[in-house]
Every structure is written in structure tokens, then in C-alpha cells.
Amino acid sequence: MKILIVDDFSTMRRIIKNLLRDLGFTNTQEADDGSSALPLLKSSDFDFLITDWNMPGMTGIDLLKAVRADEKLQSLPVLMVTAEAKREQIIEAAQAGVNGYVVKPFTAQALKEKIEKIFERVDA
């Protein structure tokens, strides 16, 4: 299971990376915005994408849309982990095809639940 973590703050990437390691996912890579994440996703074989929304350069929602529009990546599970909490935004993300949405600040439990739920659905 290879996971890409996209967030502009290195501390947040580190927190998510640590939580993933506790959940048994040790194969992770990081990117600091959508425009550096997209080439990584295209050139490698990631199984899962965790992304923030608000980032300089390319935002998480644009990254999500780009992933869904890409033939090779369109079915990649995407979890959004963000401080963006407007109903409109959550709806926009859902319409863009997000697989899960976690609002910051979040708990290890919430992240775990969402990840597990996504994999249950993907496997089903």
C-alpha cells in the first residue's frame, strides 16, 4: 500500500505520516502542493492519496479534479484532510468525487475510521 500525503505544512505531513505508520502503513511519500503531487501520482503507482485543500500553487480540490480527469488515476481513492469547513466546499469535494473528508483538527481515530471505510468500499 503506497500512499501520497499532500500538505503545504511539513508538520501536518509528519503528523499524518506518523498516524499512518501507527495504522501499519509505512510506505508513504510527501508533496507540498497539487502541482508537485500530480507528476508524482502520474509517474508512480500510488494506491491512496491524502490531500489538504488550501495550498499555494495547486489546491487540493484542483488536484482531486485533475486526478478524476486522468485516465490512469481516475479511480484512485482520495481522502481530503483540511481545515476548510464550509458546507459548500464539502459538497463541492463530494461532487468532484472525493472518497472521504476529514476536518482539521482531527483525531487519530477519525483518520483511521475514514481510511478503513474507504478501503472497505474499494475492496467491495
Partner: protein, 256 residues
Amino acid sequence: MTEQAHQDNLVEYAKTLVEQLENGDAKEAMRTISSLHQQRDQVLFQEVGKLTRSLHESIKNFAIDTSNSEMREEMSRMQDASERLNYVIEKTENAANKTMDMVEHTMPVSAHLRETAQDLKSEWDRLMRREMSADEFRQLSKKIDGFLCTAVDESSRIDSNLSSIMLAQDYQDLTGQVIKRVIQLVKEVEDNLVNLVTMASTIDQITGVKHELQPQKTESKEEQIGPEGPIMNPETREDVVSNQDDVDALLSSLGF
């Protein structure tokens, strides 16, 4: 000059102007008109001058007092609000990293303690059930002795890591001061802008300028959905969710 005095002056000039025109003294009349202009400009310059001075003062006064000389030096190098805020980002990032370093160092230590204790517990249980030979018991005694020494060492390491985590929180004091200063500056700038608007309206009154007010542009939908960052007051807003449960409820209402 007060508004009343200013008006009296204008009336005075106007009277003089009428007199001069009636007397056919065109040259003097032109001079009066130019004085009228000058007076208007003067008031304008005075008001703009006042504003500039108070803005300048606010920016000059924007300095941080710290008792620590090293800090003072560090602070004096930071000359504007955005640098100060960058300093806050840097301090909080360092503290977060230091804290995570310590947590990462501590977790394996406590995991090792737990695993060793679990192993010993299962052997101890065998002893209690009298399933252990004398030779095995001697081995177990040695292990217990080793474990007790390790437990002392490792728990002191945990203690020291925990106190490093505690100390890493010292950024709060410094960043708090910096942020308070920035808030104060923003407030001063805001007050001065309000003054500017008031002065501008005085100037408009003096000069009799009328502005055609443009109807305010309503924000496009695109802009409204743009990223906003953390919501400070979710309980007072209708358009935001306040926790993960709200997110889940909203998503499930959309068929997720």
C-alpha cells in the same frame, strides 16, 4: 482650523469677491479666487499631513520589548509585520518538530517497556501456575533483575523527553507577544483608515465634490467557495460545519 472658522473664512472671501466684482476690480477678484483655492488646498494638505504622521508613528512604535538581549536583537531585525508573522510560523514549526522528535524518540522506549513487561508477565504467570523448573526460575530472576534496571533507565528517558516537550511550548509566550503587536498595528491602521475616510468626507464637504457611488459588486460564487482556512467561530455561522460529525452527516445526506 475648525469647520466653523473655515466657513466664516469662506463667507468672508465670498463677500470680498462680490465687492471686488461690483467695483469692477477684476485683478483683485482673481487674487481672491486664488486665495479661496489655496485655502481649500491647505485644509487638504493639513488633513493628509495629519494622517501621514499618525500612520508613521504607528509604524515607528511597532517595536517589541523583550528583557532578553538575544531576543531583542532577533526582534530588532524584524522590521515589518509580515516578517513578524513569518517568525511566528518558524517558531511554531520548530516547536512542532521538536515535540514530534521527542514523541518519536519516546514511543519505541515505552513500546520496549511494554513488550518486555508482557513477556515477563507470561513467564511470571507460568511460575504462579507452578509450571516452571528451578533452572527456568533462575533465568526468570535474571530477566526480572535486568528489566528493573532497564525500567529505571527507560522511564528516566521518558521523563526527560516529556520535559523537553514541555519546554518546546515556550514559543507560545514569544509568538503571543508578536501576534498581539501585529493585532495592535492592524487596529491602528484600521483606525487611521477610518480617519482618512472621515477626513476625505470633510474635504468633500469643503470642496463640494459629490461621488457617484458604484453599486457594490456582489461576490461571484466562485470566490465564495474559495479556501478560507480554519473557521474561528463555527457556532455563529450557518454556512460551515463545526465538527467531523457534521461533515459525516452532510456527506451521508448526499448519499455517501
